[in-house]
């Protein structure tokens, strides 16, 4: 049910060099380093100690805060250390270092959960350790915990709009049936009537595959999305699938939608049928210095350098490594970081790709405005940021930016617009905080005054 209207975006060269490649499991590395914070929300605490023997799928980290997801061992072996060091996010985090024994024994706890009610289902979702695997890493159990009747559409996000990445595509081809089953289960327990699978038109084989699997299912449809970046962004795919606008500060559930990445649903379904929680990730390994671009299944916690090494190594000097796609992915300073739940690609590039773009003056060409899916005016925001004009930033809706990078991609002056807007957002948030604190202080003062007066009155009586 596309409304015929579309959100704006940009055409990005796809460069899907690994398209059509199956996902090959990677050999187990010597050691894995599993960080305790691989999701948005409270970090987990280790529930194993140094010297413990762990098996694949065994719970090693958990947290009693609701917004979190448990963490499981991706290998069998011995806990060698529990240490603090920096993860790929640039944060210092507790890491469980496991020396593998190569046996990959499966833990006894890995048994399919028994689900009889909505509550059981949500519990199982949490136990699976699944988070938003598209990169957002928001705990899926929280996302699914909506008010009954609030959500009418489940959207399976198979857009994969970033260049280079093809893992979702490969996963869709290999596991379409599991994904559809997963959707049906979710729709059953959360009482969702309609399911939509959104896939960009550059993956006709995946679309055909789903149509074949669905075989005329009336509740679930496959929607072909245009080949425009960023179709896979939550707000864009919701609009394309339902015609509803998700504005800043609202959750998809507020407009009656749940959006889940194809691999999130797949991993959830695998947990529901086999009991194996999220312990490995599908990754695309690509870039112009990668010797053998391919799609691999990697145990979570594997060092990125190990992944590169195990998969054929490099054929040139690497200057830039990006985790995720080139549009929104993060460039990392070194490659001895562990693979985490939210990663979907490792892209390695040489100098030609890594050169910094030289910024020139804005010529007001309007390409950033024409490319912004949120209909913002990035050039204006950039100016307001330069002037530190917080009122103007608010007036031009800086908080609605979702960091897709379309503006900076299309800017002929090579301005890092979304980076500036990101900083502008934190500027506004700081200001909000200050204002809130001020208002609270004033309210507290007023309350104290009222209290004092009351006491005085009471005293005088």
């Amino acid at each position: 049910m596309s409304s015929g209207k579309h959100l704006k975006g940009v055409h990005v060269d796809h460069q899907k060099n690994t398209a059509g490649m199956p996902i090959i499991p990677m050999p187990v590395p010597e050691r894995v380093y599993i960080p305790m914070s691989m999701h948005i929300g409270a970090p987990c605490q280790p529930v194993v100690a140094k010297g413990d023997h762990v098996k694949v799928g065994q719970l090693i980290g958990d947290c009693d805060k609701p917004v979190s997801a448990p963490i499981h061992s991706s290998v069998s072996g011995d806990v060698e250390a529990i240490e603090q060091f920096m993860t790929q996010n640039g944060r210092v985090d507790t890491n469980i270092v496991i020396k593998t024994d190569g046996k990959q024994e499966i833990a006894e706890t890995v048994v399919p959960p028994v689900i009889e009610s909505r509550e059981d289902f949500l519990k199982a979702v949490r136990a699976s350790g699944v988070v938003g695997l598209g990169g957002a890493t928001f705990p899926t159990s929280i996302k699914y915990n909506t008010k009954p009747g609030q959500v009418d559409t489940l959207i399976l996000n198979g857009a994969e709009c970033e260049p280079f990445i093809t893992v979702d595509h490969a996963a869709m081809l290999a596991y379409a049936k599991d994904m559809v089953d997963g959707m049906r289960t979710i729709m059953k327990w959360l009482d969702i009537k309609r399911g939509v699978i959104g896939i960009e038109s550059n993956k006709p084989d995946a679309i055909a595959k789903f149509n074949e699997v669905l075989a005329g299912d009336k509740d679930i449809e496959v929607l072909t999305l245009r080949q425009v970046y960023p179709q896979g962004a939550e707000r864009v795919i919701i609009y394309e699938c339902t015609g509803r606008h998700l504005i800043a500060g609202k959750l998809p559930a507020d407009v009656g939608c749940i959006v889940s990445n194809v691999s999130s649903v797949l991993k959830l379904q695998q947990y529901l049928t086999t009991g194996m929680p999220l312990v490995s990730k599908f990754l695309t390994l690509d870039g112009n210095v990668v010797a053998k671009p391919q799609n691999v299944e990697v145990p979570i916690g594997t060092m990125i350098c190990d992944v590169i090494e195990q998969c054929g190594g490099l054929k040139g000097e690497v200057k830039k490594i990006i985790l995720g796609g080139p549009m929104m992915g993060r460039a990392i300073p070194r490659d001895d970081f562990a693979v985490m739940k939210g990663n979907s690609a490792i892209l390695c590039f040489d100098e030609t790709f890594a050169t910094q773009r030289k910024e020139t003056a804005c010529i007001n060409c309007g390409r950033c405005v024409a490319g912004c899916p949120m209909n913002l005016m990035p050039a204006r925001l950039s100016r307001a940021f330069k002037d530190k004009d917080i009122d103007a930033l608010r007036e031009f809706n800086v908080m609605s930016c979702m960091d897709c990078g379309c503006c900076a991609y299309s800017c002929p002056a090579r301005k890092q617009l979304n980076f500036e807007i990101k900083q502008a957002k934190s500027l506004v948030m700081e200001d909000d905080k200050k204002k809130k604190a001020k208002a609270e202080a004033a309210a507290a003062k007023a309350a104290a005054k009222a209290e004092a007066e009351k006491a005085k009155e009471g005293g005088s009586k």
Binding site: H245, R330, A331, D335, A370, R394, Y409, S410, F419
Partner: protein, 326 residues
């Protein structure tokens, strides 16, 4: 463990960008101006090429010199000075004294652009201000139009006693000349006038190239030209003659579409184009100057900030209210 790589380059996303940058855009504009230059050389001879080259070189020189004096980064690599120079040359009569053209270049680059901080910060189109300043400052040389044997018979017949200079079709219309060039001649450009504006056909080819290359959006040219045509029809003129005459084509395709001085949203651009068309026809019909394109564009340049503020893009999903988070 495998070899580690450290000291990798870290930068903010996105890590890829569109191949078009300011220099390629400006270069495309220069390419789009070539057909009009070819017609100018055909009609006026070698001097058309000389004028264009001198203006382009002067603009580049002034850009370089001023940046040097101000101690700022050299920006001639962005080709914008070349564009200004060529467009300014196209706005001048072919027999204009060279030194006057150079003054125009000085005004365009130094006064209009660099005093305000350089590319992207000027509020008026440099070439237009350069042209208007020359037009008002040197009225006679700016309105002395060469007549060559390549031109339409109507123009040659209408030429003055010296048979070397004559009036532009618009001035002929204003003066009530008995015989006007045919619409085909107007379209092809075998008429006299400023160097680059004579051939609607060549300018149109350039414009189509720019639209195909996505350098300009058709919003401004289409609304500008359409408004001129409609108003001409309403006022009782021949719309095709009015559109092909004078600087409408050159202005609509190359000067009004200057990014820096036109609105940023499509809606704003349409308003901008319509405004240009209205003022052009008002000045043509009523003011003491036969041609009003540059004044109209300058006026709309000045109005652009206001147009931008009333047509700012609305946030998605927030019906009928500009500021969602006010």
């Amino acid at each position: 463990m495998a070899d580690k790589h450290t000291n990798l380059i870290v930068s903010s996303a996105p890590h890829v960008c569109n191949p078009a940058d300011t220099a390629t855009i400006m270069r495309d504009v220069v390419i789009a101006l070539i057909p009009a230059l070819a017609v100018a050389i055909y009609v006026f001879g070698f001097r058309a090429l000389l004028m264009t080259a001198v203006c382009a070189a002067a603009c580049v020189f002034f850009e370089w010199a001023v940046r040097k004096i101000m101690g700022r980064e050299n920006t001639i690599g962005d080709w914008s000075a070349v564009v200004t120079g060529v467009i300014l040359a196209f706005n001048l009569p072919v027999n204009m004294p060279i030194w006057m053209a150079v003054i125009g270049c000085f005004i365009a680059i130094v006064v209009v652009k660099q005093i305000f901080g350089g590319l992207g910060q000027n509020f008026a189109n440099p070439a237009i201000v350069g042209r208007i300043a020359l037009f008002i400052g040197f009225a006679t040389p700016m309105t002395t139009w060469a007549v060559t044997e390549k031109m339409s018979q109507a123009i040659i017949n209408n030429a003055g006693v010296d048979a070397v200079t004559g009036a532009t079709p618009l001035a002929m219309l204003n003066a009530g000349a008995a015989e006007l060039p045919s619409n085909l001649e107007m379209f092809l450009g075998t008429i006299n006038g400023s160097m680059g504006e004579i051939s609607a056909c060549a300018l149109l080819i350039g414009g189509i190239y720019l639209v195909v290359r996505k350098v300009i959006s058709p919003a401004i040219p289409v609304s500008f030209i359409a408004t001129v045509a409609v108003l001409a029809a309403v006022m009782g003129y021949d719309p095709i003659f009015q559109v092909c005459a004078g600087g409408v084509m050159l202005g609509a395709i190359f000067m009004a579409t200057d990014y820096v001085t036109s609105p940023i949203t499509t809606k704003g651009r349409i308003i901008f184009g319509i405004g240009c068309g209205i003022f052009t026809m008002l000045i043509r019909a009523f003011a003491s100057y036969p041609e009003g394109v540059s004044f109209a564009i300058l006026l709309m340049n000045i109005l652009t900030p206001h147009i931008d503020s009333i047509t700012r893009s609305k946030l998605n999903g927030v019906p009928k209210k500009g500021g969602a988070e006010k």
